[in-house]
Every structure is written in C-alpha cells, then in structure tokens.
Amino acid sequence: MAEETKFEPKIVAFLCNWCTYAGADLAGTGRNQYQANVRVIKLPCTGGIDPLFLIKAFERGADGILVSGCHPGDCHYNSGNYHARRRWNVFRPLLEFCGINPERIQFSWISAAEGGKWVETINGVVDTVRALGPFEGYQKINTIGPDASSESSQT
C-alpha cells in the first residue's frame, strides 16, 4: 500500500540581521528544536525588505512567508521597522484583495533575546501553512509556461 506523502510546506523567512536573526541564532545555540521547513534570508533591516522579495519567494515555490525584525523602538537604524510596518499595513490587504490568503504572509517582532518566541512563531507559521496546504494558485501560474498563456488568456 502506497504511503501518502505528507505535505511539508516551504517557508521563507526574511529576517533582520540585528534582532530576529540573532534570536533564531539564540534558539540554535540553546538547542531549541523547531520545524525544519524554514529557509532563512538575512537582511540588514526589515525596512529594506521590498515587497517584491515576497512575491519572488512565492514565484520560486514558497508556500508561506515570515517577515520578522526588531520590536518597535529597537531598530538598529532607528526607524527601519516603523517604515516597514507602514508598508505591510497596505501590502498585506493588497495581496488579500488579489486572493492570497494573508496567513501565508506573517509578520513578527522577535528580539535577539527571544529565542523561545522564534521557535514558537516559526512552528506556528509552519503549522498554519501546513493546514492551508500547498499554495496551489501560485504553483499553477508558475508551471504555466509562456507558450500556454496565450491559449489560456481571456478564458
């Protein structure tokens, strides 16, 4: 009897160098286990995360995304996370309006001291996205080749 392969979501995490990345590091040095579905991309600051990065992650097969940085007031560059928060406030509803489940893009503040929160958050994201299932909508448009698009247009 063929065993049903369980869906394991691919999660891309965009982390700020100063807080969340260090927090994730702390979780590692503290030997706190968390689900291995996450691929971490380290960036200097959440303020430097262009929403295009998130779209690109979906294009390249991510089922879910976590964006995480310093708590308000703690930004290494003073205000990067405040600016980022403004952008997320409008970008998230935009994606939702286009039919992308907002649960697939999650945001968090995790400081360098919060290894435990990192573990909790990433496990939460993985569980949520696993429950949502593969991001079929995006996978479909990723696999439709350029040649197929004209035939499928306007239908």
Partner: protein, 281 residues
C-alpha cells in the same frame, strides 16, 4: 467657460508668464478629446473644455518632450490638481514651475467616469486661476468613497484569486498603465531593470501578477485616483480597483488621503509610533 479659458491662456502666453499651455483639444471623434500643447497666443482657440476631458494632463510634466517646451500652464480638474500636490511633495516639480489653470468640473465621461461618482473636488484644491463658477466641494463619507470596492471585498479568497487571474491574463504588458500615470515617473521602471530581473517581462500569468501587483503597490499612499491607468488599458483590466484598495487602506490605517493637503507628510515616507500592528505577532 471655454472663452474664459482661452482668454486666460492667451494672456499667460502674451505676458510670457508661461511658455506653453497643456490643455484639451478636439479629438478624433466628438466623444474624444486629446491633449494639445499651445505655444502661440493665436492658437488658444484650439483649447476646449467639455465632459469628454477625462485625461489627467499632469502626466506631461514628467515627459522630456513636453518639458522642453518650457514652463507650462496646465488645465486641471479637481482630481488632476491632486497630482500636482503629490509631485511637489515628492520633489518632482516646484510650485512656481507650473501655472495651474484649475477648472471646476461636474464630472466627465459618457457614461460618467467612476472616479466622478463620489467626487469631493469639483473645485480644485490648488490653483493659480480658477476657470468656471466655483462649486462648493462636498464632504463624502469614507464608506461611500470606497463603495466600488464592496462587491469585490465580499468575494471569497478563491473568487478573488480567480477574478484577478482572469483579469491579469488579459494583460499584454504594453505598460500604458504606467506610461500614462503622472506619478510613475521613474526614469527606469523596475520592470525594465534586469540586474536582477525582479519582474518577469513576459506577459504570462506569473509575470502579469507580479507586474500588476507591483505597479499598484508602488502607488500606495500616492495614487490620487485619476483612473487614467484603467482608462488607457487596452485589455480593459480594472486596475483602479487595486489602486483604490490601497488608498482605502492608507486612509483607514494612517488617516491620509493623497493630494488633499500640501502640508501632510507623505504616508509612505513617514510613520507614527502607534501605527496599527494588530497583524504582527
């Protein structure tokens, strides 16, 4: 009103206050108008004003060809005038570099353009001269202004996705939406940058989704709802819904409306410590 407009235009050109008038002229058909560039006082009779003057002429402020004509006076409706506020705030033009010929307007388009349905700028909020009888701008409640979005926001996640996929499939990547947009003024658009190539240039579902989402997002907190992108789209994609959604979120979250007050900080260039963060863990 046309007479007053022509008279003023002639006066501005004769006195060398400006070098050129960007205005509306007669179009290919009676239901169309077209942009005209008047540089000689004797040509002011080419200027017209009627309900088909839907264009937002401020887009020519970004074009090198029209800029070469010198200092302009622009015929603007109340909605178009908001663009100038944003352009000034974003350091694209200086207030003194443009002469604003505001026209009062009771709506354009036949049938009436959707942008006119909840208009609260019948009289421009910024102008050097006002042509036409001043109309008292009314206050329109938030819900009414964004009423157009209701039927789409109500859709389920899958319905939304299917709706937009169907719309984006029509996109042919002609970039008329960004070419016409007075606020898409980057010398080289992100889609034309290829190191790295963030947005696939092909007009397939993947490339079309990232292009259309990015185009809209780059106007977050900036779009003044002139609906030019939607008007020019040869594939009839309701692009303005995306822009409007972003405007709604900007207003809801930051109490900011683009182009209304020249003293307001640009929504996306500032922040407040107590900005909404109920979605952040």
């Amino acid at each position: 009103m046309i007479e007053a407009l022509r008279k003023k235009a002639e006066e501005l050109l004769r006195s060398n206050t400006v070098d050129v008038i960007y205005g509306y002229g007669e179009g290919s058909t009676p239901e169309r108008t077209r942009p005209v560039f008047i540089t000689k006082p004797e040509d002011v009779n080419k200027l017209i004003w009627n309900k088909y003057c839907v264009y937002n002429l401020t887009t020519y402020l970004k074009r090198q060809e029209s800029r070469k004509l010198g200092k302009p006076a622009i015929v603007v409706k109340g909605c178009d005038a908001k663009t100038i506020v944003v352009l000034i705030k974003e350091s694209q033009i200086k207030r003194e570099d443009v002469y604003i010929l505001g026209v009062t307007c009771n709506g354009v388009g036949e049938p009436l353009a959707t942008k006119c349905k909840a208009c609260d700028v019948n009289t421009p909020r910024i102008y050097d001269d006002l042509i036409g009888e001043k109309i008292e701008n009314k206050e329109i409640p938030f819900d009414e202004r964004y009423a157009e979005l209701d039927e789409y926001e109500k859709l389920s996640e899958k319905e939304k996705w299917d709706f937009w996929q169907k719309q984006f499939a029509k996109c042919i990547k002609c970039y008329a939406c960004s070419s016409i947009c007075p606020l898409c003024f980057c010398d080289r658009c992100i889609v034309d940058k290829n190191q790295p190539q963030w947005i696939d240039p092909s007009a397939h579902p993947r490339g079309n989704l990232s292009w259309n989402v990015t185009r809209a997002y780059h106007l977050a907190g900036r779009c003044i709802n002139c609906e030019e992108c939607q008007r020019v789209c040869p594939a009839d994609i309701p692009l303005n819904l995306l822009n409007k959604k972003l405007a709604k979120e900007t207003e809801k979250n930051f109490n900011y409306r683009s182009g209304y007050n020249i003293d307001d900080e640009l929504a996306m260039a500032t922040y407040k410590e107590d900005d909404n963060q109920d979605f952040i863990k």
